[in-house]
Structure formats: C-alpha cells, structure tokens
Symmetry: C2
Subunit: 346 residues, 2 copies
C-alpha cells in the first residue's frame, strides 16, 4: 500500500509501505477514505519538534472497515468509521470518565498501526477507538466531510470551550484563528455563548470565524489586541479559549481573562516550556488554567448527532482538498498559510 512518510524537515514523501494486518483480536483494519493534515503536523514539518525520519504521518482517519479481529463487537467490515487522533480502549478508568487521552492502554497512529495519511491503518482497541457513522450517512459525501473534523479539530475546539466553562449567555474570547480556534467559535456558540470574540491575525480566517458565529473579531496584535478585547468585554472575559499553543498566545489569553475567570487551553504549549508560564499573572487574579490534550473520543457521539442533525458544520475549515499524491503539496499549502486545513482523500 502507499502512505505519506516523513523524510526530514520540509520533506514528505508518498511511498510504498507494508499494509497493516490484524495482530490482536481487538484490532480492526480500516481503508482510509478521508483524512486531513493537522496544524500540529507542521511542528515536525518545520523541524521544530523531533520525529523519526521514515515514520508514517497523519492522525485523523476516516474510512471503511476492511477486517476485524475475533473480539471486535462494535463494528464490522463495510462500516464507515472515524477515529480520534489517539487510540483508546474505552474500558479503563480514564476512558470511562471521558479522559480517553489518558487511557492506560492508549496508542497512537504511528509505527505498525500506520499513519492516517495512507491507504490503510490498523486500529488497536477497535471497540474503544472507532466511531461508526450511521448507515444512512455512510456514503453521504457532504456529511462525511462535515464529520471528519470530529477526529481532531472540532473535538479539540469543543474541549477548549468546555474547559473554559462556556455556557448559555456567556461572553467569551477565542485566541487563535486556525482550524481549532474556528471550531472553538462553533463550539462556544453551540454551548449557548451570547458573545464570541475571535482574536486572530488573518482576515480570511476571521471571516470564517464570523460565518461560524463570532460576534466580533480582533485582528490587532500583542498589547493592542489585549486592549481591544478588554474594551469589548469591559475589562476581560470570564471564559477564554487558547487555541494556538504558543507562549505569546497563552500570554494574551491570560491577559484578556477577567479576574476569577478560566483559560481553557488545548494547543500543544509550544515554546511555553522555554519561557515558562507567568504564574504571578494568574495568581493575583485567581485565573484558572484548565484543559490539555483533547479527549475527542468523549465528544464524538454528541457532536456527530449535531452534525447529522444539521446544526453543526465544521467542514468550512477545509479550504483545500488533495489525494494521497497531493499530501506533500498539502503540507506546503498549510505551512504557507495558503490553506486553513487540508482534506486528504487517499
């Protein structure tokens, strides 16, 4: 089979690789029909995080089940499924409390499981990991493209909103206009927020934020952005979503947070470790920092219900579509910020 492989900074190749096979009775093999390139893939692409050259890439698989192990009960060959960006067993303490990202049997879409930007993946713990798309929508291309973001960015944006404590009638702020930030706007509105202020640097993305329900957008940078948000919120927002994962964005998020408020953060905190987090700023005003890597598996069913019900549609985050051979160009387009997020149809 063919799959995208990381060859070094700036280099993604599509190569012939071994097709994964059932190894454990809880495995399933999925033929990938839809997947995506993630903002977090850009860290290794840019050489800003380590990754083994030769490793397969991609972690947002959707496809059709081709084979299942003897113990798999929830899906069968022919089912259309999607899977979160991490594998989880569905049975341990953490899965049961909705924290699938801390699953004690957790695994990733890498190594022998195959990256999701390829023709096939093996899903360990298929019953815990795979989410079946109802038959009625299994071949509905529009529905599938709207469901694909549930593998990562839509669940992650939702986690930001949940972590920030967004509820009906609230005023909230989303820092970041990437795919996750845009999904956080959708999530906040879905949770009943009355005012959603989107902070970003790109006019075209802020237009999407408005289409997604942002009631105001702030395109200023640094201190000017902070001042503008404070003005719009009369002193800061009680619910702030940090959807970038960079030290500067975290700083902005804390600065626009109202005393006693909460920053929900979901971006891999890139660079924050080097500079550290200014705890003093949070301490004095009792600002809570909540969130982390999003347990998107926990949110799949409720978000899917709304997507299929027609009240939630994150598909506009995909602004470019490629086939498997187009994956290297997809990385380039995201790196150049030419595309918000790239849909891949292997």
């Amino acid at each position: 089979m063919r799959a995208a492989v990381y060859r070094g900074p700036g280099e993604i190749a599509v190569e012939e690789v071994p097709k994964p096979e059932i190894e454990a009775p809880t495995d399933a093999i999925v033929r990938v029909t839809h997947t995506a390139i993630c903002g977090s893939d850009l860290w290794f692409y840019r050489g800003e995080s380590d990754r083994e050259p030769g490793s397969r890439v991609g972690h947002e698989p959707m496809g059709v089940v081709e084979a299942v192990g003897d113990d798999v009960r929830s899906v069968e060959p022919g089912d259309r499924v999607l899977a979160p960006f991490v594998v989880s067993c569905g049975r341990c303490e953490f899965c049961r409390r909705g924290l699938h990202t801390s699953c004690v049997n957790g695994d990733s879409w890498s190594g022998d499981n195959g990256g999701a930007q390829g023709e096939y993946v093996r899903s360990p713990h298929a019953d815990g990991t795979l989410v079946r798309v109802p038959d009625r929508y299994a071949d509905d291309e529009d529905a599938l493209e709207s469901l694909l973001p549930l593998t990562d960015v839509m669940g992650t944006g939702h986690h930001a909103a949940v972590s920030a404590g967004v509820g009906a009638g609230d005023t909230c702020v989303v820092v970041g206009d990437g795919a996750v930030g845009l999904c956080a706007v959708l999530a906040a509105r879905r949770l009943g927020a009355e005012r959603v202020i989107a902070v970003g640097h790109h006019e075209d993305r802020l237009d999407v934020a408005e289409a997604f329900g942002a009631t105001a957008t702030v395109a200023e940078r640094g201190e000017a952005a902070v001042e503008r948000v404070r003005e719009l919120t009369h002193g800061g927002s009680t619910h702030v979503m940090e959807c970038v994962g960079a030290a500067s964005a975290m700083e902005t998020a804390i600065e626009v947070c109202r005393p006693g408020g909460t920053v929900g953060y979901v971006g891999v905190p890139h660079g924050v470790t080097d500079e550290g987090l200014d705890v003093y700023a949070m301490f004095g005003d009792n600002i809570t920092l909540s969130g982390g890597v999003a347990p998107v598996r926990a949110y799949a069913e409720e978000l899917m219900a709304d997507v299929l019900g027609g009240t939630l549609d994150p598909a506009p985050v995909f602004t470019k579509t490629v086939d498997l051979d187009g994956v290297p160009d997809g990385y380039r387009a995201m790196d150049d910020r030419e595309a918000i997020k790239v849909l891949v149809k292997p």
Copy 2:
C-alpha cells in the same frame, strides 16, 4: 502609638509611629488586640522579596473598633472585629462574586493604614472589610484565638480546598505542612473529604496535621514523596492542594495529581516565575491549575459559624505567643521554624 516596622532583612523594630485617624467617612479605627506573623512575612524578612525599609508590617488584624466614619453602618465603637489580609469594598463586581482580592477599591494594611502588627490600624471601607464577632464571643479569649486564623491562613487553606474541588468522600493531598497546609487539612475534612494525605518535612507539624484530620502523612522528599503519594492513592489524587508557594512544591503537586485532576494553589508562587511552570506535564494529563490569592473575606461568615459552633478550631497553628515588644523575636522563631505561627497580642 507603637508598631512593628521593617528596617531591613532580618531586622524588625518596635517604634513610635503616628496613630491613624479617620480620613474618609467609610473608615474605622481599630485598636488591635490580636494579630499574627505570617509565613509570607518571612519573604521580606529573609530579603527574598522587596519591601521599603521603614514600612509597618502585619496584615492579620483583630481588635476593638475605636471610632467610625459617618458612613459606616455595619460596626460601631466597642465592637470586636477581625479583618482579612486585604481591604475590600464589599460592593464592586468582584466583591459580590466572592473575589474580594480583586476588589476594584482594594487596599492593603500598609502605608497610612498602619500595619496590623501595631496598636491601631485604620480600615478603609470598614463596611466591606471588617467582620464583627458576635457579642456573646467578643471577650471569649479561646474563641478569639480560634477566630484569628480567619484573617488569613484558615481562609487560605479553605480556598486551596475549594479551588481543588474537594468534596464529600474525596481522597485529597495537601502539599505543605505550614500553617496554611495545616488549615487546608482542616478545610478538606470540613468539606467531607474521606482521605487527606499531608505531605511535609517536619514531624511535629505532621503531628498537627494528623490531629487536624489527616488520614496519612508523608515525610519523604522529592521523588520519594511523589512515589509514596502515588502508592497511597493508587496513581495520584484528583484533588491536590499546593500550600507552600515554591517551585518545588508546585512540581510535587502536579506530579501527584491524577490525570483529569485539579491542583488548587494558594501559596504566593515564589520562585516559580524564574523556573517557569512546566505546562507540558499538565497538558498531557489535563490537569487543571486553579486558585490564587485567597479571597478570605468571602469565607469569613461560614468559617466563623463553624468555629463558634465548635466544629472547627485552627488555633493549634499558633505555637508561640508574644506581645508587641516580642514581635522581633516572633519573626526569628518563625524564621528558625521554631514556631509554626506566632500569635501577637499588642
């Protein structure tokens, strides 16, 4: 009048200073009968934080109202009162939501208001700041010594427990065996915690923790302490209280927190800014960091009800009592860890 004055690292003097007077119609003058030396006073005493030489010190006043301004309604001369470590108006947005430490009219026990380690203080915003002790207990020395910690450490320990989300039946961990940590043990038990594990370095203080209701104590340091707590909690606690305010204690608190759990922190995060906070450790396991400077005014009434009802008694944190002339010796005793907390009767 006479008051304790900071003269430089390691130097506290008791000197003649101007007696404060009513300046605004919302002021009250309080003759201080009881006050205390705080662990946070040791930072400037040790030269580890800046303080203007010549400034009056102390921020935990209890006493008898001597005079009130024309607009003061809640207390009158002769009333026994206590006051939190910060002044708050009681009327602004933040006071009304119980975040008195972010009061927009907030003030401190310093400058012309006088430090609390002196014969008199002026309380600005007396209606918002002063808490009246019911007449029945106004001259009950035992009750007064049990109420005095409500000015700071008992409210702060309670804030740690509230911030960590401690509730009935929970297993929780308190990092720190100073006065605040010991009060956090009391607070956690009061909130219904079933198991309270106290982590500290001093056998005598851990004995107090046990007397306060800790169900286990851990005297190991560093990684050994983390291992022991993980063993006792089968993998970490969902509710951790950081009651030291040092980088190493914060690190321990995060390490003993169970995935998906919350660290409630109330210690001034001394040294954490230099080293930064390791956000990665929190990110991967969705550990929430909540808390900050404790709005003890918000908790005064409920804690007072329990103290006067006989179900809460933090007085054992006072292990040494001095008069005003003994304040310098009190600082020395706390600096030498000879006393947990010093009670001052001016």
